[in-house]
């Protein structure tokens, strides 16, 4: 297992280098100074720009610039934001906890909902309840998150008034108190639901099909023959076997949360990395943009790696390949 994981991690390194080269090239193609954000875009004096370029080493050969950029990046120095006049790393550090909170909340909601629905549908397949859950899943897989988000705000925020439609916390509450956390949870529920809708549907569908398939296996018949109660068979014998493959979804969840965060955070004006990304495009704050692009690319790589390794843990045959 260790050998397999190490091999996967080593295999990731060339990919990481390739992707960083692509991001660097894109940054160079961007107008202005996308890598460091040091050059003031409002100052159009050619002499000033030339001086700054010389000082920042933009007249060096590209490979030197690349090496300098990637070393800085690896050390957590992402340059300066033109818009906020401060370090990109500190802006990201300010927004990142919100996105992590949203992602974790969405995973928790996904797991809870998918387990309840999947176990129910798997235990009573082809009944009314199963069909209802199946119908919900079809919608969950078909409705794009931005449509679901818009409908959710309209219904739950504006018509019913159950949840706030924007922000991550009430401005009035004091940080650190119980109220503060309750308000944060209150703000995160709706975006987290929308963000996790697709995974909820696929988890439920997977769990249901796996439970039905497992319930026909020999070990279930043996358990039944020995007089084990129905609920124990389902909750212990079958569920244990059906949960294992679900673990591998976690890697893909990381990937889908990254893409989903951009859309969901924008709809709910939730101050996270995804929203920062979009507002940076609009404000032409390219150094922030490239830092987030590089960060997200690394995260996707890590997500795929996690999926690969979890596959190896669950299915030993993959390790031998």
């Amino acid at each position: 297992m260790l050998k397999y994981s190490l091999r996967r991690i080593l295999g990731m390194i060339p990919m990481l280098i390739l992707i960083s080269i692509v991001v660097f090239t894109l940054a160079k193609l961007m107008p202005g100074d996308a890598l460091s954000g040091e050059i003031d875009p409002t100052n159009t004096n050619p002499e000033y720009i030339e001086n700054m370029r010389e000082k920042l080493g933009y007249n060096d050969p590209y490979y030197k610039q690349y090496i300098r950029w990637i070393t800085d990046f690896a050390q957590g120095d992402f340059g300066k934001s033109v818009r906020y006049k401060t370090k990109v790393s500190s802006i990201i550090a300010e927004k990142l906890p919100n996105t992590i909170f949203l992602g974790v909340a969405s995973l928790v909601i996904t797991y809870i909902l998918a387990f309840i629905m999947g176990i129910y549908a798997g235990r009573k397949p082809y009944t009314l309840g199963d069909h209802a859950i199946g119908g919900f899943n079809y919608f969950g897989l078909a409705i794009p998150s931005f449509v679901a988000g818009v409908f959710a705000i309209y219904l739950f925020s504006f018509k019913l008034g159950w949840f706030p439609s924007n922000g991550s916390v009430d401005i009035m509450v004091q940080e650190g108190t119980l109220e503060y956390w309750l308000s944060r949870i209150h703000h995160v529920i709706l975006p987290a639901l929308v963000l996790g809708m697709l995974s909820t549907a696929s988890y439920t569908q997977f769990l249901r099909n796996d439970i039905i398939e497992n319930s026909r296996k020999d070990f279930v018949r043996t358990a039944k023959a020995k007089g084990t109660s129905q609920s124990k068979i389902y909750n212990v014998h079958i569920l244990r076997n059906s949960i294992i493959p679900l673990v591998t979804f976690l890697g893909f969840d990381i990937v889908s949360i990254i893409g989903g965060a951009v859309i969901t955070e924008t709809i709910f004006t939730y101050p996270g990395i995804g929203q920062l990304f979009l507002t940076s495009v609009q404000a032409r704050d390219y150094s922030v943009l490239m830092a987030i692009t590089m960060m997200f690319s690394c995260l996707v790589l890590v997500g795929n790696l996690v999926a690969d390794i979890l596959y190896g843990i669950v299915d030993p045959r993959i390790r031998l390949e």
Binding site: I143, G259, S297, V300
Partner: protein, 299 residues
Amino acid sequence: MNAVERTEVKQPRTNASPWAIARRKFLKNKLAMTSSAFLLIVIILSFLAPYITTVDISRVNVGYSGLPPSSENWLGTDTSGRDVFTRLLYGGRVSLTVGMSVTAIVIFIGTLIGSVAGYFGGFVDSVLMRFTDFILNFPFLIFVIVLNAILFNKVSGVWVLIATISVLSWGGIARIVRSKILAEKENEYILAAQSIGTPASKIIVKHLLPNVLSVIIVQATLTFAGMIIAEAGLSFLGFGVPQEVPSWGNMLSSANKSDVLQNKPWIWMPPATIITITILSINFIGEGLKDAFNPRSFK
């Protein structure tokens, strides 16, 4: 003569070709057929839009802005005074064109790379598959937006969007086609074709691809749905087709204004609904096709 014909009809058609079996199964699938009919209607209405309505879509009429649905404007007017129903038809044209074009390109690239990698194997396979992995490792949305920021003010338009989405989305198809070709090429008839000196290109096109076509068709359906979502999502965020071109995503982006979202649901609800139903029906068609092509399912 008559009697012979009658007995032939009564016999179970056990010798029907796989395609005939699949077609019969698909025609019997009510959900898939309803979805196909709906999709066909949406496509026809969208592409015949200039003949159906005579309202000028680019006309901005502030005096008529934000009107609720009435007999004159079936679905009301948007904030610039344009008729929502007309824009919905024209928007469908753009959204479906983007979806279909991207699907065609993605299927072409994916099938090409997947079949070449799968058939030749070895070094060619590892190079092409590493490249595919590389493409699959890009966060799609992020890179489309970054590319959009680079191309800002230089080139813009529907075709740029189609090209950008296509370049980033063929990875999955290539992987699936490759794995199918890998399994299919082990058959004896491929060995027979090779032994009589059939060129590789002919083996792939004439012998292998027809046998993996069912998988490609199902994937194409699902890709089509995915690409409509991609276009709408990007346009919703303001990075898809240019703002002045109506598309379902562009129309939905008016819901970003809280006043429209809260008080003028007729502006954003029609595109939201039509996107959802279109995606749903494409998914049902895909499921129906998958089922029809599956020799193990009997219905």
